[in-house]
Symmetry: C2
Subunit: 416 residues, 2 copies
């Protein structure tokens, strides 16, 4: 049994617009034991859309149409789906009345073509959309004697997501065989994908009862675990026991076992211990502060930061001695340490974090190439410095991975 | 004449992975007058893939397969495409030899299944992939007597993009009727989509010779113009003349007519005039500095920034009088102005920028709700302050739009 997702709209075939609804749908459907076998994106074209619908009814059990439910001539989903199934569409008088009421409440005359939105496929259940005018539809039908569950959903994510969750998930659960699915996400900082895989693979490859997906980017490896079983307890037990084994194998490298972002975990550790932090950053240009302050409530533990781009400001804002910069260079272990200690003192925080490096594309030398970054932490216990030579990818990538390393260094320091 | 793009890989049907290649392909194909009519995503499944390929050959002129060209049992694209077309596949001895050489150069034995990568569809041209082991294939064939151009490309974007550009675009240009296409992108800051549309629509709706797409997000409206004509000059003239009309209508609101991001434009204006800038930001938490320093070469005009999250640090780092904060509150016109003037003085820059506001979700009051942000600029001419009350979307959205407003304020100040 599998699902097919069909996104309708000519804008989805341009360079500018991406379907993201289907990622949400995949996540929700997986939770009830259903996987997506086909995704199709098609324009507002009667013959193309009918063709696509026909093929879907032939091959898939659950068929989800998104978009094309509006009032214009381009909104063809209702008609084409009915056509492909050999069913009629009928105007639904109650919905028409509601549409007129909706416009009246806004003191606007309703253009006649809005009535199209009240067209309902023979046998379909109409589902009101509280966030838009186009209602959704649910249809349990047959194709070649096989059961087919068909959904017509509005395209905008803010309408589709709540509707799918509150109206369609319960209906699917009712008609599908019960599925118990459990899930966990482990996140690991600053290990390469191949290293992570060499640690994880011997563990998860012995566990065919859990589906494992490894994703890596920007200094973060994510292990997604999914188990299906006869009972919810059994499914949960399967992912939990594998998560525990992986957590043991990766040790302190694991920063999250419930999927939270690194900055939130750092904030959690700071807040729990009543610690505060300040940041003096150069090559990351504000990104470390930006990530920390993106956590709601961060003003409890983040006091301030300095983006000390020029040498002069390293001295003025973080009290780095000008002589030290002249002697060792702005990108050096010494300056990183001075930034951390200086910003800690200037801001009066428990922890000071310093970052200085070369993000490129210019500014590299043989000795100090693009990708070289120094990280330092100062706290009541003293200080710690780390040198990293990142691969010479683009500026944005180096800044991103450096911010990840900086946050992970803080996390490890607090835990050590 | 239209194209169909087929992305192959079971990971594309999970919640974790998005196809982005097709956006790139849409952009390139539009440039030679071709639009995409269907996109299909399908897993590594022989029957599903063959079915999808068969439908594509029936209905589309240009069919692009992406992925499934590796050496494993799961890599089925070659076989399924050949099957769907009723063609044979044959091992290509030269490619086999090259694969053995590739492994030998890395002093690794070649697993036998790698030979699969040398399977070539009858009549197809093999195209070497300098960034991977799986070669691509180009096939000009027929289906029901109609010409079909078929491409097999590797899935990873860093392999697909250069290969498509250097090998497949020239082949397509050779077989397709010549198309002259020109394109422009205008970017507009801090106008709502509906306002922008009400200005732009009367102008572009009279110009059916140019295809116009309006996109809006995060305080930026983009007008994408695309024209097809008999000659390149004519196509260019069409987009240029419409771009000029729109540029006149929007005036100073247009910050870019070639698609550059706002931070790059701000840097350009600063650099041109030999000006420098420093930033003291509170609610944006480093995002303004981060965006400015993401421009390569920004150290020429960006000297430094302070993320003055706590009141105490507003005083220490940007010399905002503590009494002023007590009297007017940290989120006030007065403090924004003091931040701008203070950071300008502390950093010795031509321009000082101050931002203070409430990003939420907590911290709002009736008087000063979430979304209230003050922006101030100090320069040799004096100072300027702006109050904005943004809609109460989420924290990230408010921070993003506030950073956009801050940068746009700098741009307008420089131009005024």
């Amino acid at each position: 049994m599998h699902a097919e997702v069909i996104a309708i709209g000519s804008e989805l075939l341009t360079p500018f617009k991406q379907d993201t609804n289907s990622l949400f749908l995949a996540e929700r459907l997986n939770l009830i034991g259903i996987h997506i076998a086909f995704k199709v994106l098609v324009g507002d074209d009667r013959s193309h859309l009918t063709q696509v619908a026909r093929a879907a009814f032939e091959r898939s059990d659950i068929i989800i149409f998104m978009g094309g439910l509006g009032p214009t001539e381009d909104d063809l989903t209702r008609e084409c789906v009915a056509d492909a199934l050999g069913l009629e569409i009928h105007p639904h008088p109650e919905i028409i009345a509601e549409l007129y009421k909706w416009f009246a409440a806004r003191r606007a005359p309703m253009p006649k073509n809005n009535e199209r939105q009240a067209d309902v496929i023979e046998g379909a259940e109409v589902i009101r959309n509280p966030l838009g005018t186009a209602p959704a539809q649910w249809l349990a039908t047959e194709c070649n004697g096989l059961p087919r569950y068909v959904m017509l959903l509005p395209g905008p994510p803010r309408e589709l997501k709540p509707l799918f969750e509150t109206e369609f998930m319960p209906r699917l659960r009712r008609v599908l065989p019960p599925a118990a699915v459990a899930r966990r996400v482990l996140k690991i900082a600053m290990l390469g994908e191949s290293v992570a895989d060499s640690i994880a693979a011997p563990i998860y490859s012995q566990r065919t009862d859990v589906q494992t997906t490894i994703l890596a980017s920007g200094g973060e490896v994510q292990l997604h675990l999914l188990a299906t079983a006869a009972t919810q307890e059994e499914a949960q037990h399967r992912v939990d026991s594998l998560a525990d084994d992986l957590d043991d194998a990766f040790g302190v490298n694991v920063f999250s076992t419930e999927g939270e972002p690194l900055e939130q975990i750092v904030g959690y550790h700071l807040g729990m211990r009543g610690l505060t932090i300040s940041v003096a950053e150069s090559c990351t240009g504000g990104l470390v502060s930006e990530r920390l302050t993106n956590v709601a409530g961060s003003s409890q533990w983040f006091l301030g930061g300095a983006v000390t781009y020029s040498n002069d400001l390293k001295t003025k804002m973080a009290m780095v001695p000008a002589k030290m910069i002249a002697q060792h260079g702005a990108v050096s272990e010494q300056v990183a340490q001075a930034l951390a200690a200086g910003i800690r003192q200037a801001c009066g925080t428990s922890i000071g974090l310093g970052v200085t490096g070369i993000a490129g594309p210019g500014g590299g030398t043989e000795d100090k190439p693009v990708g070289l970054v120094y990280f330092a932490i100062a706290d009541e216990r003293g200080s710690e410095v780390l040198e990293r030579r990142f691969p010479q990818h683009d500026r944005e990538w180096i800044r991103r991975i450096a911010s990840q390393q900086a946050l992970d260094l803080v996390r490890r320091r607090i835990l050590s």
